[in-house]
Symmetry: C2
Subunit: 474 residues, 2 copies
């Protein structure tokens, strides 16, 4: 039985994605062009992501703050590369109240300028360092083509901005955050990722270098899923973040920034979900178990309530659906919403001492004795689902990662079965542009600790410097 | 010993407020005019408020969503009273990317228009009702004079927007939310509040009626601290939120909205804090206990660690300050930050089997045996502090609430010792304006279930209809 509201993902992936987003009530289009509405199911996912990531940030010594939504143009322009990079996609506020503003203000597309300006006023000695601040906020980037979660004119994110006494410490921070993201994707979202540095062309405007977290979607398209930037002293020089170091000399601070966004919800959908709707790894599911009593039988009711109580008391997020809808309707609804486990409790089954667990990922049904330890069964099944989703995604990502030695091979791969491409690169931007001519392929990241697959650049055939991961991107 | 960075509140209350905000590192001015920065201590307070309120909202069946930051002018203008009310304080976005927008967009000052527009597209039958949505968001209102937490061009809040099948149900919701706020203020913030309806003049633009939560600050000025509005069908008619009711007839939905903001932090400061800085009720303190070991003694260290472990294991939010600063410096710092309890552990005291608890509210020190149940002692002291803060605030608010029978009495009260004024009102706006001539006094709310104190209006001496609470406001 297939969900009729959802196009098959093998027939039209883009339509499938939109259908799942709508059918699972994650987001809806708004009447504000390019902006979407995060509906209860979508926002609950974001809250769950926030709560896990926020805990990790706090455990590593970061503190949350909140900086202004609007940035004066002249302040943002202090760092020239960043203003150039962002100018084409900024929303400008030109009047406030009844009067025109003397200087126009941009809605923050990112907050390096504000954090730098703030730090410049707060830091005077090495004793004031490091500052490890983060904010959860909305940002606006005036995108032309938009898609729920993947690219919208407004999105929600966390942006960490830290300053340090030494370059080493800041570089360590950049890597530490990259690894927190990697762990979050793999352990919680069950999404295998590749991490590495961006090329000069693809790095963040203003950064010395950018680390990225790259994931591969079901259709073989890459999703840049989080980034961590090392700024060195670029911003601290532009904004005057100066401190007296341990040798009593003036020095500019060393800086990082790193962020992850609601785009992660898009990745979650495109890696795990199927033609029946959303599939969620239990560790990120806002609701892990739904209990569906079948019929009005008293024993059914009591058993349902008893199981709900047991699960809840043991920290499993369960809920009871005793609404008047038919069991079939409920099954389909909870399936499309991606509830990892459904527990079906019926009168006849109970007479046979049976309750049924239906797992969302494989849609398999498992009968267990109603007297067994249901908490244990559910926990172990959730564990299975979590591992299975990761293993399936990992297998696919490995299968869809190809080694190419020349542009012909690249073309063939991309045209027949897109995915990640591993290929050698000479370091020349011209060769990146040659790759881009093939369906817009871009370098995803440099694979630093991998064995080189040849000595020659995939594009120009000259001496290669680095192994690079390439792909079509969202 | 007085904190020198803080002006005495009895000498210059406004300066005292600013000093506490800065000294306790709650907020700082930014280089964006009218916008402040919520620093770690301030944002942690907001997070704590959010977590408690959010839980209450979810327990009462509300779901979180997120709607766009920007609203097309024509959409906002669909409800005429609201656009009139908000037009003078809107920030307008007029270009996005490189091009001028066809229609200007406002940064949301509030989201009734967006929620109504969304609901109109989502609701068709009484079976779709109620919708109980809330969002945590930033809003912008182009205020002329600003003050951290109390009035800033951007602030953070939650705004609940619900639609219902019947007027009764929506009215109930309005009251339910009012009571959730009241409970939150009294039980968690330890701030006694008065609740009641606003007069026609003071209600929210577009509402049928507005309930308000009013608190009295130390200096006798009133703070409107949260509001809950009943819209009836005003917005549902303007935006077409129509449903088929149980009689198969078309009907417009009944609507509410309600909100509370970062302004609550300002209230918290102005009710409880003193010349030594912030004072926080333990139930809202992001950090409840600081342990300060005095000296390098091993037994001191071990005892400190042991107590930290015990407190933390029992759900008390404690931390250890073993930094190199002097004890005196630490004491002052934690005091200005409002940590409710400081535990001092010194070598000599330990020899005498003593550890010391210092409570922030009264600055009293209490010696306890190091072998007693420290968790119990701390919990009972936190309880004391929470109750004491509420009792003190309540006593002051009762003392500063005056009954007045004519404008002369009102003038005398306001000029000598401002506070809440209870006075009868005929219901005529002209009389509200006469009151306003006296130092800008406004009606705070109508006291519906209180005994009338006379039969004549305080301003015109004609027949009075209602007992009203009045005051100077922030």
């Amino acid at each position: 039985m297939k969900n009729k509201a959802i196009t098959s993902r093998d027939i039209d992936f883009a339509q499938w994605y939109t259908d799942v987003v709508k059918a699972a009530k994650l987001a809806d289009y708004s009447n504000v062009k390019g902006f979407v509405i995060l509906e209860p199911n979508g926002y609950a996912l974001w809250e769950k992501m926030q709560s896990i990531l926020d805990k990790k940030l706090k455990e590593t010594g970061h503190q949350n703050v909140y900086l202004p939504l609007l940035i004066p143009e002249s302040l943002f322009a202090k760092e020239s590369e960043m203003i150039e990079g962002f100018a084409p996609e900024v929303a400008w506020v030109t009047s406030g109240g009844q009067s025109k503003l003397e200087e126009r203000l941009m809605i923050r597309p990112t907050s390096e300028a504000l954090f730098s300006d703030y730090y410049a006023s707060k830091v005077s000695s090495y004793r004031d360092l490091p500052k490890l601040y983060n904010q959860w906020a909305n940002v606006v980037r005036w995108e032309k083509e938009t898609r729920p979660f993947l690219r919208t004119r407004e999105f929600l994110w966390q942006e960490g901005h830290t300053i340090h006494e030494t370059a080493e410490e800041a570089k360590e921070e950049t890597l530490k955050m990259l690894n927190i993201y990697k762990n979050f994707f793999e352990e919680y979202l069950a999404i295998p990722v590749v991490t590495g540095r961006k090329t000069e062309r693809e790095k963040f405007a203003g950064a010395e270098y950018t680390y990225t977290v790259e994931a591969l979607m079901y259709n073989g398209v890459a999703l840049q899923s989080a980034t961590s930037h090392y700024f060195g002293q670029k911003f601290s020089k532009a904004f005057g973040i100066k401190f007296t170091n341990r040798n009593s000399e003036d020095e500019f601070a060393y800086q990082t920034s790193w962020g992850a966004t609601t785009r992660m919800i898009g990745g979650l959908i495109m890696v795990h979900s199927d033609d029946n709707g959303l599939i969620l790894p239990p560790k990120i599911a806002p609701r892990q178990v739904v209990i569906v009593p079948i019929g009005e039988d008293n024993q059914v009711k009591e058993t349902s309530m008893g199981i709900l109580k047991k699960l809840t008391e043991n920290g499993i997020i369960a809920f009871l659906d005793d609404s008047k809808k038919s069991p079939g309707f409920k099954f389909a609804e909870h399936e499309v919403n991606g509830i990892p486990i459904r527990i079906e409790i019926g009168a006849r089954d109970l007479q046979n001492n049976i309750i049924t667990l239906a797992r969302r990922d494989t849609r398999e049904k498992i009968n267990i004795s109603k007297d067994c330890d249901v908490v244990n069964e559910v926990n172990s099944l959730m564990n299975d689902i979590q591992n299975n989703l990761f293993a399936k995604a990992k297998e696919r990502y490995q299968k869809q990662t190809y080694e190419c030695h020349n542009l012909e091979e690249v073309k063939e791969v991309i045209e027949t079965h897109p995915g990640f491409i591993k290929a050698m690169w000479c370091g020349d931007e011209a060769c990146e542009l040659k790759m881009k001519e093939i369906k817009g392929i871009k370098s995803r990241c440099i694979l630093e600790n991998c064995e080189h697959i040849s000595t020659k650049c995939v594009a120009c055939n000259k001496k290669a410097k680095q192994l690079v991961l390439w792909g079509i991107q969202y």
